[in-house]
């Protein structure tokens, strides 16, 4: 019995690297695509994934953020890579007075084709940005519709945060832009 316990312990020790690496590699790719991930920073992606209800009915999509309890505002935004021509307009709280980063930020690479960029804001201005993947949502391809203008940020209080399709026609195609059905805030860097 002692020998068996010893062997199990050895297998457990040897399993630490593959188990950790499996977890590490499975972390949301929106955070790792830039190649750097600070494991010491808080990870809110699970909270975001658990607190947001995604429902689809045909081509209509509904994102319900009202289940998020630890945040005061939710913003729909656009993320850009650091080398973007208008990098100062990329989604980054450092660009905006009164805001600061919280947690492991999503990578500033253009929006995934199956995701919307979401920024959560605490009352103290702490901001966490993340690309929220919507399974099967290939219609969000940024070459189609979900290519919000640089610097765009539509924020609403969490208790009102339910995004729906705002249908637009682009070169004959009917596209869904996920927006909150309220008057958008004026972008800080509006042209």
């Amino acid at each position: 019995m002692k020998r068996l316990a010893s062997f199990v312990l050895i297998v457990a020790i040897a399993s630490v690297p593959p188990v950790f690496m499996r977890w590490y590699r499975a972390i949301d790719t929106s955070e790792t695509r830039c190649g750097y991930l600070n494991l010491l920073e808080p990870d809110y992606s699970g909270e975001l994934a658990g607190g947001v209800k995604i429902s689809r009915a045909g081509s209509e999509v509904r994102l319900d953020f009202t289940g998020l309890t630890n945040w005061s505002k939710v913003c729909l935004t656009a993320m850009r890579e650091d080398s973007f021509e208008f990098a100062d307009r990329a989604e980054d709280p450092a660009n905006r007075p009164g805001f600061h980063r919280r947690g492991r930020w999503g990578c500033n690479i253009p929006n995934r084709h199956d995701a919307v960029a979401v920024a959560l804001i605490k009352a103290d201005g702490g901001t966490y940005a993340h690309q929220l993947v919507i399974p099967g949502a290939t219609w969000l391809d940024d070459s189609y519709g979900w290519d919000l203008p640089p610097g765009f940020r539509q924020c609403v209080p969490v208790h009102e945060a339910v995004a729906r399709c705002a249908w637009v026609t682009w070169y004959g195609q009917r596209l869904c832009w996920l927006l909150f059905p309220t008057e958008p805030e004026r972008p800080d860097h509006a042209d």
Partner: protein
């Protein structure tokens, strides 16, 4: 001859055979394909590096084999088996890199050696434990488990560093 001594003899003979085969393979590869030597040597090793996190589990299988052969110094057997794969692979990788690129990569090699402590740490552990294998009967003990955990940590570190280096655009 007692079974443990026979096992140790087998292990040492296998190690010598592996070393000779590896040396012969390297020599043959370099003499016949000098221009592509680096790629030939490094490609499989870099591939192995991608799966380095799984190596400790294979080492456990090797450890079980040693126990079945009758090795009685369990602590040395465990640490030897855990450190052996990296102790062989990492130095060969850097020697291959150096042989192929010479002084051009000396700085890179030194940097990589620092980044991957498995390169200098695990060969030392493997050699020391190989000597310890035949000295006396010994259970693993808590220090053995701690050392095994630290070696697993070295593999984990190598895997994380490798992932980070691969993800640099």
């Amino acid at each position: 001859m007692p079974i443990e001594r026979r096992a140790l003899l087998l292990v040492r003979m296998a190690a010598i055979a592996a070393f000779l085969a590896l040396s012969a393979g390297l020599l043959a590869a370099y003499s016949t394909h000098a221009s592509t030597f680096s790629e030939m040597i490094l490609s499989p090793l870099f591939t192995m590096l991608e799966y380095i996190d799984w190596v400790p589990l294979w080492s456990v299988a090797l450890y079980a084999l040693l126990l079945l052969w009758g090795v009685r110094n369990r602590r040395a057997a465990l640490l030897f088996c855990l450190s052996l794969p990296a102790a062989v692979a990492f130095p060969v990788m850097f020697i291959g890199l150096f042989a192929a690129n010479g002084r051009n990569v000396l700085g890179l090699n030194l940097l990589m050696t620092l980044i991957y402590p498995a390169t200098w740490l695990l060969p030392y552990v493997a050699m020391f434990q190989a000597i310890q294998l035949g000295i006396r009967k010994r259970e693993i003990g808590w220090t053995g488990y701690v050392c095994a955990f630290l070696i697993a940590g070295v593999y984990l570190w190598s895997a994380v560093v490798n992932d980070l280096l691969n993800s640099i655009p």
